[in-house]
């Protein structure tokens, strides 16, 4: 599948096209040299472009159709994945996947949203919009991990929890609320990686952990920029302004203390080189898992509480009467 380019990636698209055209020509030394030169240009152009992405451009990168998601990470970082299905109450949600696997020989539980690749699969995955049964499945699987003292690794990538009639009828709010509460006291290490879109409550419903990591070009927001623009400007075309105002980029969130660490991405974003992106996640994950795993239960839970308890303190002032 050719790499899709985003609206702001025009210079990259032009270079890719040129390279593509050259590869169609009969092979000569001159052609190869030219392709190589163009390849180098591509790297520099990407580098400069991605060094100064606007918040809205980061939103587009986070939503990139080729962006590696949970399934890609499972393939590259874990072995022997066995998916577990269903919430044992109502159904199996396809937008949220759970299962166990090994990470460098250590058994772990994996939880994460799946958006789907082609159109057919996107529909099957409901575009990554999980329903209540997805959140309940996630908690059931996480309890399994707690029981057998296995660490939990969560990949967050969802536009939002599914806003539909059946979601409300089956209590999506309750499902998310219970997950948030119970994950704060779940007695096993939890590492969260925001790998794409961190869409509000739909993300937070599986995103409580001892460490919250975020990939460089992922986003995490209380409301999608389009929704924010429609709400306050009454004009959804103000989405770029909204994206900037919401401070939803990884560096912003690191500054606010909402995430613990940024996981670097290859130049041009994870979608340009999924293998390199996975390697970068691998490095951080290995270290963080060892750090959190070395703590005693009590210390870990106390630290987890403190971490979320302190969020937003910097935004509060004490006014004397």
């Amino acid at each position: 599948m050719p790499l899709e380019t985003l609206e702001f990636e025009e210079p990259i698209a032009a270079l890719l096209k040129e390279i593509e055209a050259l590869t169609q020509l009969p092979r000569t030394d001159a052609r190869d040299r030219e392709i190589e030169a163009l390849g180098r240009r591509l790297v520099t152009v990407r580098g400069t472009l991605y060094k100064s992405l606007t918040p809205w451009q980061r939103v587009l990168v986070a939503r990139h159709p080729n962006r590696p998601g949970l399934e890609d990470f499972i393939q590259r970082l874990f072995t022997g994945f066995v998916e577990i299905h269903g919430d044992r109450r109502f159904a199996d949600d396809h937008a949220l996947m759970t299962g166990f696997a090994e990470f460098k020989g250590q058994p772990v539980l994996l939880v994460g949203h799946v958006k789907g690749g082609d159109t057919k699969e996107k529909i099957f995955r409901n575009f990554g919009y999980a329903r209540p049964e997805g959140y309940r499945k996630a908690l059931r699987a996480m309890r399994l991990a707690e029981k057998f003292r296995r660490p939990i690794i969560v990949f967050v990538d969802t536009p939002a929890a599914y806003p539909g009639i059946e979601s409300e009828e089956r209590g999506v709010a309750e499902a998310i609320a219970v997950n948030i509460r119970d994950m704060t006291v779940l007695d096993t290490p939890i590492i969260v990686i925001v790998s794409g879109e961190g869409g509000s409550g739909g993300a937070l419903g599986i995103a409580i952990g001892d460490r919250v990591l975020m990939q460089e070009f992922a986003i995490y927001s209380v409301i999608p920029p389009e929704g924010c623009a429609a709400l306050v400007w009454r004009d959804s075309s103000k989405k770029a302004e909204a994206a900037a105002a919401l401070k939803l980029t990884a560096p912003d969130l690191l500054e606010f203390g909402i995430i613990d660490e940024i996981v670097k991405e290859p130049i041009g974003g994870a979608h340009t080189d999924p293998a390199a992106a996975a390697q970068l996640v691998d490095d951080v994950l290995t270290r963080v898992l060892a750090e959190v795993g070395a703590m005693t239960s009590d210390a870990r839970l106390a630290k987890r509480y403190e971490k979320f308890r302190n969020m937003g303190r910097a935004g509060i002032e004490f006014l004397e009467e």
Binding site: R181, I223, V232
Partner: protein
């Protein structure tokens, strides 16, 4: 000019009235039954229409008055938001905060206080809708979390009266994290076997519903309150259909199994008190004294 060509002045649009707020004046028209109600009657009925039972929205201070037996002790009323994102849309967030403060006399969208409910010392947090839609930002999160921690320290039950549009957009992901902060405190309260009652009033939506509003040992709603996660407009856009009547109202949620009971405001205090007694509150403080060495 012929009379029929005369341009008519357009009729002035009627001033937009807020539907569920008790306006000034002697008489109020009830949005439920369209009858005129004498304002003073509303005071005795806790702002419930005596004819049709329509529940007018209550401010946070009025709410506390309806629940506590007598005076209460307020906590952390001096906390204010610093506008951590320096957020500006059509208006700076600071201006919205200022307007909220001037309009309500509060510094943010919640009052937390302890006092006696039918003789039972209880920690109550009441949200104020008139302060930026009752939205939950860092101050609301901090005040409620502190209230829960205080309740654990004093072995007191907690009641939170929700009245909120959800997380406060102008504080971005920080407001989202208040859901986690409050839920974490509630998990500790739960482990301490202390009672928590969530009271859901019109409206309770978004991040408030998806956190503490749904986590009560009992979830009690006032009649016909709008309660949901996604807003009705968002759902209509997703499914491209009109929503059925009564969707996301208290009675609908109870029917779907999400609420323990729907209670008329005039019965609310008595219901909370009897629930707290069932949960052993009142005896809690003395119990802990007996246990501690």
């Amino acid at each position: 000019m012929a009379w029929f060509k005369k341009t008519r002045k357009p009729m002035a649009a009627p001033a937009k009235e807020k539907p569920s707020r008790v306006p000034e004046g002697l008489w109020v028209k009830c949005p439920g039954c369209a009858q005129a109600i004498y304002n003073k009657d509303l005071v005795t009925t806790l702002n419930v229409c005596p004819k049709c039972g329509h529940h007018f929205r209550l401010g946070a201070a009025e709410r506390l008055r309806t629940l506590f037996d007598a005076a209460w002790t307020e906590y952390d009323k001096d906390l204010v938001s610093t506008d951590p994102l320096s957020f500006t849309d059509t208006k700076p967030y600071r201006a919205r905060l200022k307007a909220g403060m001037e309009g309500t006399g509060l510094r943010d969208a919640v009052i937390v206080a302890s006092g006696a409910i039918d003789g039972i010392e209880t920690m109550v947090a009441a949200m104020e809708y008139e302060f930026i839609g009752g939205s939950m930002g860092v101050v609301v999160g901090e005040k409620i979390a502190r209230a829960i921690e205080r309740a654990i320290g004093a072995r007191m039950p907690v009641v939170i009266v929700c009245c909120s549009g959800g997380a406060r957009m102008m504080e971005g992901a920080l407001s989202l994290m208040q859901m986690a902060k409050i839920c974490a405190a509630l998990a500790r309260l739960d482990r301490e076997r202390l009672p928590y009652i969530a009271v859901l009033t019109d409206p309770t939506t978004g991040g408030v519903t998806a956190s503490f509003a749904m986590l009560g040992d009992l979830n009690i709603a006032e009649p016909k309150a709008l309660i949901g996660f996604a807003g009705p407009r968002v759902i209509e856009q997703t499914i491209r259909q009109k929503l059925p009547d009564g969707f996301q109202r208290s009675e609908f949620l109870m029917e779907k199994g999400m609420l323990d009971l729907v209670v008329d405001r005039r019965e609310l205090k008595a219901t909370i008190a009897s629930a707290l007694r069932f949960m052993g509150a009142g005896a809690l403080a003395t119990q802990s004294e007996a246990v501690s060495p």
